[in-house]
Amino acid sequence: MKKMLAAASLALSLSASGLAFAEPLKIGMITTLSGGGAGLGIDTRDGFMLAIKNAGNKDITVVTEDDAQKPELAVQIADKMIQSDKVDILTGIVWSNLLMAVAPSAVAQGKFYVSTNAAPAALAGANCNKLYFNAAYQNDNLHEAMGEYANKGYKKMFILAPNYPAGKDSLTGFKRYYKGQLAAEVYTQVGQTDYAAEIAQMRASGADGIFVFLPGGMGIAFMKQFAQSGVKIPVMGPGFSFSQDVLPAIGDAALGAKASGQWAPDFDNAASKKFLADFQKEYNRLPSIYAVQAYDAAQLILAAASKASVKDAAAFGTELKKADIQSPRGKFKFNTNQHPIQDIYLTEVVKNNGVLTNKTVEKIFADHGDAYAKDCKL
């Protein structure tokens, strides 16, 4: 953590320019830097710090700590950041369960929370909060997009997700837009690594398409086993299933898989090209969607901080909600519940100069919000 602080302040002192803020700003980043889920947290941190570094502003400090993907540790760190470090804004949590442990109590203590990824339904509807913003999406969005896409040409879908709330939200989101028939709706154990039993059911189900939501190692295992099974049904999923953090480990088994996403490395806009070049230069690898989301979260905070003092919560919130940034995703604005309204695209896994990556195919949704905003009274 101290190393991070030093790195951040060094980066800042090197840069000459940068607008002075109305008030110094302290951001607490809690993310997963150790354990099995560390890949996502590292991309989150690196994306966020890239935007901070590019801004080159002396009035901003970021303290980073590792939650090891443990909710109770995240709570402890959040308490420490609020009580001891006196941060103004918290951010960085990858997982919905950790977010649910931290965000409600952080906003209850008058701190802003800007989510870089997790976006549970519980915080998007009636329990939305003027201090809680989400820079990524609402959890259901990418699944909804695949449901919409599956309407074109898929009559009988086999859908599968882990047996936990995000998994249920996923299949609910898919079904919200999918109009065809369901061959089966299967929930697997969280952290399951062998999908032979489920693949056998897929083969026997007579489905003409398969939708899976299996983040991280679960998705890697599933795709490798599916490729070996001889089952020829097309596989699709939300962007995380084929994100840059897992593609190298899946290998060619992922080729041709369709997914939904708000961003892909081939986006043809200036902000995206700059982000991609900067990220590769800084970290020498391709960024995942988590890095983009964190980059935008940092940009949003920076944009608001240049207009208003974070100590004036109402004014800062108003500026934050204006979302005056150049997002690599292109269009980006906030809905009434402070979750994004954005375009969602269909992507396909391709091999580009020997590197597996996602290619944009078509737009599925334009200016897509979420189903919960109507319950939010902000």
Partner: protein
């Protein structure tokens, strides 16, 4: 539900069982001979998978990687035995649990230190790619059949090793009377190191085989470790035969439970809930089976005669 699907699921259960046997055999052997409970066995599984993935990436050959996994896991096992484990033989189980728990933390974080946080790539060798037809018109992945065959070979090899070789004789002697074989002039410290390395190599082999169809990542050994413990407890700790039958029982029960319970629940509740509730019970099923077996036979199905 067709016969073909049931057959396929049975094979899946068998394959999971065989894989668990590779893990459980080492655990139960180490417990049988040295009386040691080793939580870090899952870490050796992970070492095997990482070694295989790394060497396969260097050389382009899965087979060299597989050999490397055996060597690396055996070496890691031998080193751990020499440095740490041999101080634990005369301790109680509590100290053993704790020390090997500490080893898990070190192995996991150490592996991440060396290899980074992102999962590694490991693919199936070209020879074993694809699927073959089964009676009943369905297809089955060649690689999973290969795992079953490899597991059967290892089980046979272990049987031969223990019943027909000098090393096996010493292992059997060590299981029945530890002091006696020392008195007979067998170098017991070397024997222990060899047995531990053998168990580690089996775990590493399992890790490499399974790594090719799963995700090679830090922490991959822990779910398997707990299943392997369930297996040896059901089978009777220290019994290789018990480990084999326990592994097959757990593998088939788990697979069939995941497959059939949601269908069974369909008779009572709507489809979406049937999936969730069936899935919930399926994830607890093997632990329920274990509790029932231990309630009836507190020392497992095949308790070793001594001790």
């Amino acid at each position: 539900m067709t016969i073909a699907l049931a057959l396929e699921q049975l094979l899946n259960g068998l394959q999971l069982g065989v894989m668990l046997f590779l893990m459980a055999a080492g655990l139960t052997l180490i417990f049988g001979v040295m009386g040691l409970i080793n939580l870090a066995h899952g870490s050796l599984y992970m070492v095997g998978a990482f070694a295989c993935a790394t060497v396969a990436a260097w050389t382009g050959s899965f087979w060299i990687g597989l050999v490397a996994s055996l060597v690396a896991a055996a070496a890691a096992g031998a080193i751990v035995e020499l440095v740490v484990i041999r101080r634990l033989y005369d301790r109680d189980h509590l100290d053993q649990v704790l020390a090997t728990f500490a080893l898990i933390l070190m192995f996991s974080e150490g592996t991440r230190w060396l290899f980074g946080s992102f999962p590694l790539y490991l693919d199936i060798p070209p020879l074993l790619q694809g699927a073959v037809g089964l009676p009943g018109g369905t297809e089955y992945p060649v690689y999973r059949l290969a795992i079953i065959a490899a597991g059967a070979l290892v089980a046979f090899g272990l049987y031969m090793l223990i019943s027909r070789t000098r090393l096996g004789m010493r292992i059997r002697a060590g299981e029945s009377d530890r002091e006696m074989i020392g008195a007979l002039g067998v170098d017991i410290r070397t024997l222990y190191t060899v047995v531990f390395a053998l168990g580690a190599a089996l775990a590493g082999f399992a890790g490499a085989m399974v790594g090719a169809i799963q995700s090679v990542q830090v922490g991959m050994g822990e779910p398997v470790l707990i299943l392997a413990f369930v297996v040896i407890v059901i089978g009777g700790i220290g019994s290789i035969k018990g480990a084999l039958l326990g592994a097959l029982l757990v593998g088939v029960t788990d697979t069939m439970g995941r497959f059939l319970l949601p269908k069974l629940m369909l008779l009572f509740v709507p489809p979406a809930q049937a999936g969730m509730i069936g899935g919930a019970i399926a994830s607890m099923l093997i632990y329920i089976v274990m509790a029932v077996i231990l309630a009836v036979k507190p020392r497992g199905l095949f308790p070793p005669a001594h001790a």
